[in-house]
Amino acid sequence: MAVTKKISLLILAIVIVLFAVSWIAKTGTFEDTGMPLGLSVRDGFLVTFAAFLTLSIFSFLYKDNPYYKFAEHLFVGVSAAYWMCVGFWSTFVGNFIPKVSEGLSNFFEVPYKGFDVFYFIPLILGIMLLLRMSSKIGWISRWSLAFIVGTTAGLNLIRYMRSDFISQVSNTFVPLVVDWQGFGAFFSDLSLNASGQLIMTMSNWVIFIGVFCGIIYFFFSKEHSGFFGGASKVGIWVLMVTFGASFGYTVMGRVSLLVGRLTFLFHDWLGLIN
């Protein structure tokens, strides 16, 4: 126990020394660009601190440790307040106040848009939600939940029916044979462009059968056996292709993010690359 404590203190000491060195060095670099001392000290600190936080998160890959815990807890506090402030200024002051109170509009210096009695609905529902904190009349908060859920249900029902369901179904109406020009031409061109009829035709078949079997897989009220079982098996295979392909396709984006962070460390902080 005593040994591990010594080691962690040693690491802490090293981190503090490195932090200080980086702070001083970065201050120097900023000053060289003609920045006043005060600002250089500030920005030197900010860059160093951001780098420290970056490395603290990465250290999680090795194992959980106090630096990760520090970064995690700081992140939670700062981010919770961030969204509260943004919500307050953009929604509450931006959208709500101008519709209910001229005095408050003037106080927050936002243009008053005329009194709208309907805006008392969210106000009342919002207050009802806060009543949750009282155990006696906490049940009234369910009214606002009911309002939210009703809104969600109403909007989603139509939206999904219209955009996802009807559009996707009609997109499945595809020609069985694309642009027929005789057998010779059909089998001789196996390319993936407008001239490759075989591939285009095959794509349409794959899409049609794939969607068909995929939907069969999602049948809940029928046992998956016989023809149904076979089709749902094909369905799950099609889904597996989808999942494998999506996964492989995503790797690139994830690596980009790491590139971004390493660029910050190598360029903005250490100045190794330009």
């Binding site: 307040a81 307050f88 959208n95 210096e109 949750r132 309002f147 029902l157 499945t172 939907i215």
Partner: protein, 225 residues
Amino acid sequence: MKRKIPVLITFVVGSVLILSVFFPPIETWGEDFSIFFDIIAVFAFFLGGGNLLRIHTKKAIKRQKDWGFSIVTVLGFIIMLIAGLFKVWNDGGIAGDVAAPGSLFQMMYNWIFTPLGATMYALLAFFVASASYRAFRAKNVGATILLVASFIILLGRTPLGTYVTGWIPKSLSIFNIPDLAIWIMTAPNLAGQRAIMIGIALGVVSMSLRLILGVERTYLGVDNE
């Protein structure tokens, strides 16, 4: 009473919004209700922030495990909140943009929030590698299909695919890895996506209907009525 009124509210609000789509005179109600939801959400921030503060101050006061870190959370929260609500060092005063350049709020956003978020996100690069190592194994037909599809796509996303299969004549270009990768993305992948999408659309419609009709109401909890 405590349960019937909420169910009634859901029914009325849901039905009205469905109808509003079809009737031009009230078609903007959907917009208005969306704005209402955002406003209610702001009130809920108080619940959230209160809960966060309560849990972490309690932890700190009771000196529970890792209590020191709870202080970090509370301090971070309070400082950011003050910076944002009072627009500290914001040249624009009360009417200025909350994230105006030079303000404390923007500084903390740029140098704490952003690097932390971006780094957490960047961890994914490591996790896709460990997940593919662990999970892409030819254990059965389904797993093998998963493995092969992702391998072809991975190849297609690099110039390596072109080097390996670049010699294939144009008329057989489907066997060219980058083209094959696109084909997988646009045909079988699309089919799978579409099947899931249609299923989800039906699921959402059905679930919404259950909510509006009041047959699904776990979200209300129960009470001792």
